[in-house]
Every structure is written in structure tokens, then in C-alpha cells.
């Protein structure tokens, strides 16, 4: 029993003396720098990924030590305002988006604008401009989505259409390239007695994705951004939203969605119904990819981008980027911090993230992907919508109640016109 207890102590002693040696050695003339980094990588696989990157960074920069600390998202949001104003605060930190996260920090002048570094390192090309907007604020922190860049992200989320390859093969169906083709495909499925889209709205939020993809068929990104970022011309009362609402009701009437969808929850009923092939398709986010592969393997299910009315142009779909890396305004080592961010959000990080089942935001070496797998499909969709700058928004960021409104719409409690008016009224009031 003695040894296991002693072992960690011995290890620590060994490490400390090993680390202390070069410090005390006069032969090393280099400046000793400690770069303090705070991140949000709490899961084991994530820790592993970031430790590898940190080791590589330290190896490439002799004399630099990275002191890393990890916090949950809410904790980061709560303590950053205080910690970033102190000299001992992190030089580099991950930041949550939105007014209460990044906005509050920009307003207090605690973050360094990254525009120059973005030019220097080519960060603008990492992913779509629309996604950089999410890490942007006006210099006074009052206006979201415009102005300076304050962060760079390295993970991505996107909503698309999962489908059972076997059902498509049996019914002789092709991936639809336009909305009209999608509807024709669903009519065919109905004739064969198969539910086209597995869907459940009991939890509320999944209904947002159903509306969003249809909204994305008709709306422009400018219109959507104006609504989401509450710009002067921001409104929900648009032709596009009305058309999307009408189309959604039409789809309900045609029976494209699971029978009894109003009473189905997401994690249990809907996920289960898709796995059991109680429907051919499922419109949801890439976060389900891992769970689906775990249950059905990487080849049974495919993923395609929700089509628009025009072939080859993806509809705007809900999606986004993960927490962003930013730099403390008062840091002594801004250049080094930027170099670090370049590494942890760059291609090497993407590779490591991908190997561990996460979805990097930046482009990936195509050699890593096996065509015909779900993983490859999801990446293709992300690249396609990313390239077309068609990554839309999570509507509930700006309209937290929209799920209730969509339930009312799909439950025929309100007309599409009333739905649009209700959301607009809350948008104006909220």
C-alpha cells in the first residue's frame, strides 16, 4: 500500500527537479516566459488533444512554458470579467459568444482586437465570414456581429439531414438537389408507407431546426443577420418567414413528420424512432453523428445539406462555431499569444480534433476522410455550407421563445400570419 501513495509524490519531485534544472542553469540565456491559457476542454479526449498541442508549442518555442487551466463554460463567463482585468489573468482564454460573454468583456476593454493577427495568419480563410461575425463586436461592446474580431474558434456545429442509406436504396431514391426534389422524394416515401421525416417537438427546441431549414430556403443571410444581431433593419416580419411558416404547415398537413410528433422527446423517442427506421430522414445537428455511429456504424446512415430552391446552392442552415480563443488586452506577450491561437485553431488542431470524433471548424485534409461514411458526409456538408457562407443561426439566441411559437404553428393553433406577427411582437418587446 505504501508504494502507490509514494509514487505520485516521487513523480512530482522528479518532474519539479527536471523542470527546475534548466531554470537554474546559467547556460540558458533565453528569456523564460510563462503563457497562461484558460480553456474549456473538460472531456478526456479534449484534454489529450490540447496537451499534445501545448507540448508541440513548447517544443517549438524554447523557454516558453504554457500554464493551462480548464473551466466549464458558465464558470468562464462568470469569472473572466474579474480575472482579465488583473495582471495575473490568462494571456489567452476561451470566451463564450454573445452579449453576456464576449460583449461584456469588450465593453470593459478587456480583450485585444485580433484583426491584424487575422490578416497576418490568414484566419479569415479558416471558415466563413458569417462565422467570424459571431466572434465580432463593435469596439464599445454594444453591437454584436459587427466591428472588430475578438476571437477565433476551432469547432463547428451544423444542422443537416441524416438519412438511412438502405431505405433510399430500396425505394430507389437519390439525394434531393432542390426543395422540389425533396418534396417529391417525401411523397414517394409516403406512398411506400414510410414516414419521411422522424421528428418530435415535445422538448420544444427541435422544432426550431424544422422551421429554420425552411426559413433558410427563402431568407438571405443579410436578412437573418439583421434579425439575429438586432440591427436597425432587423425584423421577423418578412416574406421569407411567412413563406417558411406556410411551407412548414403544408408539410405537417401532408404527413411528412412522425405521427404524434407533438408528444415525442428528442433523446429518447425521436432518436429511437430514427435508429429503428421508423422514418427515412432526420433533420438535426452534427452532434448526433457520434451517437448514430455508435449504434449503427459509420456506413448505414448518410448526411446531406438541406436543399434550396436552386440546385447547387445550399439553403442557409442553423449552425455555428464553438467557444472562441481570445487575448487579454493587458497581456505582455500579444504576439506569442496570437501564435498560440494560430496553432490551436489551425489545421494541426483540426486533425487532432477529428481523430477524437470532434468537428473542427477549419478545412480538413481530405485524405483523412473515407468516402461513403457518415463522418465524411457530415464534413462535406460543413465544407459546402461554410464555403457558400450559408451557416445560419440558432434562432433562440435572439428569440428565446420561438420554440413555443413554432409548436403553436405546427399544432394549428395559429395561422402562419399570426405566427410571424407573434414572433415579431416578442422581438420588438424583448
Amino acid at each position: 500500500m505504501k508504494l502507490p501513495r509514494l509514487l505520485p509524490i516521487l513523480l512530482v519531485v522528479a518532474l519539479v527537479s527536471a523542470g527546475a534544472l534548466p531554470l537554474s542553469s546559467p547556460a540558458v540565456a533565453q528569456e523564460q516566459i510563462t503563457l497562461v491559457v484558460w480553456d474549456n476542454w473538460t472531456r478526456d479526449a479534449e484534454q489529450e488533444m490540447i496537451e499534445i498541442l501545448n507540448d508541440e508549442f513548447e517544443a517549438a518555442h524554447p523557454g516558453v512554458t504554457i500554464k493551462r487551466a480548464t473551466y466549464a463554460t458558465d464558470d468562464l463567463t462568470n469569472i473572466l470579467p474579474l480575472e482579465l482585468s488583473s495582471d495575473s489573468g490568462p494571456d489567452v482564454t476561451m470566451i463564450n459568444q454573445g452579449y453576456s460573454g464576449m460583449g461584456a468583456l469588450v465593453e470593459a476593454g478587456l480583450l485585444l482586437p485580433l484583426n491584424d493577427y487575422a490578416d497576418k495568419y490568414g484566419w479569415w480563410d479558416r471558415y466563413a465570414m458569417g462565422l467570424h461575425s459571431r466572434n465580432s463586436f463593435s469596439a464599445d461592446g454594444k453591437q454584436f456581429g459587427v466591428g472588430n474580431l475578438y476571437g477565433v474558434s476551432n469547432t463547428a456545429e451544423v444542422v443537416g439531414v441524416y438519412y438511412h442509406r438502405s431505405i433510399f436504396e430500396e425505394q430507389g431514391l437519390e439525394i434531393p438537389k432542390t426543395l422540389a426534389e425533396m418534396e417529391a422524394l417525401m411523397d414517394k416515401l409516403l406512398e411506400a408507407g414510410i414516414t419521411p421525416i422522424v421528428f418530435g417537438s415535445l422538448d420544444g427546441w427541435p422544432a426550431i431546426h424544422e422551421f429554420s431549414v425552411l426559413q433558410g430556403v427563402y431568407i438571405t443571410l443579410e436578412e437573418l443577420d439583421a434579425f439575429m444581431y438586432r440591427l436597425e433593419n432587423g425584423t421577423f416580419d418578412t416574406e421569407a418567414n411567412l413563406k417558411a411558416a406556410q411551407k412548414l404547415v403544408e408539410w405537417v398537413d401532408k404527413g411528412y413528420f412522425s405521427p404524434g410528433f407533438a408528444g415525442m422527446d428528442y433523446d429518447g423517442a425521436t432518436f429511437g424512432a430514427f435508429l429503428n427506421q421508423e422514418g427515412a430522414m432526420w433533420i438535426t445537428g452534427n452532434w448526433m453523428t457520434g451517437s448514430i455511429i455508435e449504434e449503427l456504424g459509420d456506413e448505414a446512415v448518410g448526411f446531406f445539406a438541406f436543399p434550396s430552391e436552386q440546385e447547387g446552392v445550399p439553403a442557409i442552415v442553423p449552425g455555428g462555431v464553438g467557444l472562441a480563443y481570445g487575448i487579454r488586452a493587458g497581456t505582455k506577450y500579444p504576439d506569442l499569444a496570437a501564435e498560440y491561437i494560430d496553432l490551436v485553431t489551425g489545421p494541426r488542431a483540426a486533425e487532432l480534433l477529428f481523430e477524437r470524433g470532434f468537428f473542427p471548424a477549419t478545412a480538413l485534409d481530405p485524405a483523412l476522410l473515407t468516402p461513403g461514411t457518415l463522418t465524411a458526409d457530415v464534413f462535406d456538408v460543413w465544407q459546402a455550407v461554410n464555403k457558400a457562407n450559408a451557416v445560419g443561426h440558432w434562432l433562440d439566441w435572439t428569440a428565446p421563445n420561438i420554440a413555443a411559437n413554432i409548436q403553436e404553428l405546427m399544432g394549428k393553433q395559429v395561422t402562419p400570419e399570426e405566427f410571424v406577427a407573434d414572433v415579431e411582437a416578442e422581438y420588438r418587446g424583448g
Partner: protein, 307 residues
């Protein structure tokens, strides 16, 4: 207080010379009460007079939040849902519990303890667990609908918790299922304190089950009824967890209750001041209904004692 201090005289202190000593004893408890109950209430009152996002500087706006509340259709909708839930959290559980009590106390059955424990179980379970179980029960492919289809009532099968007409009833019934256990335990304890002679006398007079219940059990349970009413009424007004797990307030806003609206406003819309105003209105409502109930009861007792 006096008897308490007299008991302390063993330690040869003279209590009446230092009356503040008594206050010292309640000080620790009072400090906790002050910090965790009184101060938050005072803060809530202050916040309710401001416009505050939760992280910027609060701005004093007077009674604007209350004016807005009076005109807020979502608030009245949610309050109406709370009132609807009173039927299921308070009235129905009391009726069910009275029925069970009169059945279970009439004669001694074998294994009675097991029945009582079994019937009390819903009250003991965490609301989240209850919610998840009933979500499954009410699922479109779940046991309830399977049963309906099995007995040929296929057209009655529906997604209960997502149905705009039935979701409030379904969510309410789960509340009944949770609350009746508490009422039942209260009533059984109450019945046990009613003298057996009263029942014997009633039986000699030829009373049936109903007569016994009406003229012996019910009058003997007044105190317990009052407690059951107040406790379950408060539960109906402040319910959050159960409804949140069951329906998230949906479909639409059919089952949204005030506590969910407070959460939504304060933490999703960052309107902490407005949320505080709502919370305060509910506090006043709950306290006044409890106070009125106890007042009416004490008056009645006075009258009975005077007789």
C-alpha cells in the same frame, strides 16, 4: 422563553438580569434566516424596481415593471395555468386521499403498511424522475396509448403531452399522482387520533361507510385538511420542476406556469428586474392565501370553543 431560561438556572445564572442572553441563543439561526431569506426578499423588492440585465448596472425604473406585468398576456396565461393546476395539485389529491383514507382505516387489513408505503412512494420520488416516468407513460408509443389501442379505443390514442387540448390535463394528473400521498399520510394520522369510541358509537347507530365518513372522519380531519390544502396549494403555485421536465411549458404556452416565466424572463431574456417583480407578486399571492386560510380556521375554532 421564560420556562426555557428557568431550566437554565441549574447553571446558577440569574436569567432575568441578562435578558439579551435569550437573543444570543437565537442569533445563529436568525443570521442564517437573515442572509438566506430576509435579505434575498429585500433584494428582490429592490431589483423589481429596476431594469437590470444581471451583469450591467441596474437602472431605477419605479413601478414600470409592475405596470408591464398587468398588461403582460403571458403572465396572465401562466397564472391561469397555475390556477388550473390547483385543481390537480390540491383539490383532486385531497379527494383521492380522503377516499383512500376512509377505505384504509375502516378495518385492519393484512399488509396495510405495504399498501401505505406503496401509495406514498410518488411523494418521495424526485420530481425529475416522476417527470421522466410519466413522459414515457404518455408517449405516443407508450403504455397508455398501447393500452387504449389494445382495448379498441384507437381513436383516443394521442401524444398526450404535446396535445393542445389534453397536455394541461395530462401534466396536471401527474401532479395529482405526486401530491395525494402527502395528503393521505396526513389524513391517516388524523384518523388515528380520532377516538375509536366515536366510530363504535356510529356503528351501533347503524352508520354505513358514507355516514361514518361524513359525520365522524371528516369533522375530525379539519386540521389536517387545512394543512393539506395550504401545502398543496403552495405547491400548485410554485411548481416548476415537474412541468419543466414533462412539457417545457408546451405545447405553445399551454402548460407554462409563472415560475417558468420568471426563469425565462430573468435568465433567458436577461430581464432580472421584471422577473423579480413577477416573483414578488407570486410571493404576495401565496402568503396572502395561506394567511387567509389560517385566519378563517382560527376564527372557526374560536367560535367552536366559545360554544
Amino acid at each position: 422563553m421564560k420556562t426555557l431560561l428557568r431550566g437554565d438556572a441549574v447553571s446558577a445564572r440569574r436569567p432575568y438580569e441578562r435578558p439579551y442572553q435569550a437573543y444570543l441563543y437565537i442569533l445563529p439561526g436568525f443570521v442564517i434566516y437573515l442572509v438566506f431569506v430576509l435579505w434575498p426578499i429585500v433584494s428582490t423588492v429592490r431589483y423589481s424596481l429596476t431594469e437590470w440585465t444581471g451583469f450591467t448596472t441596474p437602472r431605477y425604473v419605479g413601478l414600470a415593471n409592475y405596470e408591464r406585468l398587468a398588461k403582460d398576456e403571458f403572465f396572465w396565461n401562466a397564472l391561469g395555468n397555475n390556477a388550473f393546476f390547483v385543481l390537480f395539485y390540491t383539490i383532486l389529491p385531497i379527494l383521492v386521499a380522503l377516499l383512500l383514507t376512509s377505505l384504509m382505516t375502516r378495518r385492519h387489513l393484512r399488509g396495510m403498511t405495504i399498501f401505505r408505503v406503496g401509495l406514498f412512494v410518488p411523494q418521495v420520488m424526485s420530481a425529475v424522475v416522476v417527470g421522466i416516468i410519466w413522459r414515457w407513460m404518455f408517449d405516443y408509443r407508450g403504455p397508455l396509448n398501447s393500452f387504449l389501442r389494445e382495448i379498441g379505443l384507437t381513436e383516443l390514442a394521442r401524444p398526450w403531452l404535446g396535445d393542445f387540448t389534453w397536455a394541461p390535463y395530462a401534466a396536471g394528473l401527474v401532479g395529482t399522482w405526486v401530491e395525494y400521498g402527502l395528503c393521505m399520510v396526513l389524513f391517516i394520522a388524523g384518523v388515528q387520533s380520532i377516538s375509536d369510541e366515536l366510530y363504535d358509537a356510529a356503528r351501533v347507530d347503524g352508520a354505513n361507510l358514507w355516514h361514518e365518513f361524513r359525520h365522524v372522519t371528516l369533522p375530525g380531519l379539519q386540521q389536517q385538511l387545512l394543512v393539506a390544502f395550504v401545502v398543496t396549494f403552495i405547491a400548485a403555485l410554485r411548481v416548476f420542476d415537474l412541468v419543466f421536465v414533462l412539457t417545457r411549458g408546451g405545447p405553445g404556452r399551454e402548460t407554462q406556469v409563472v415560475s417558468m416565466l420568471i426563469y425565462e424572463r430573468a435568465f433567458e431574456y436577461h430581464e432580472v428586474g421584471y422577473g423579480a417583480a413577477m416573483a414578488l407578486v407570486m410571493t404576495v399571492l401565496i402568503v396572502s392565501v395561506s394567511a387567509i386560510t389560517f385566519y378563517v380556521q382560527s376564527r372557526r375554532e374560536e367560535r367552536e370553543n366559545a360554544r
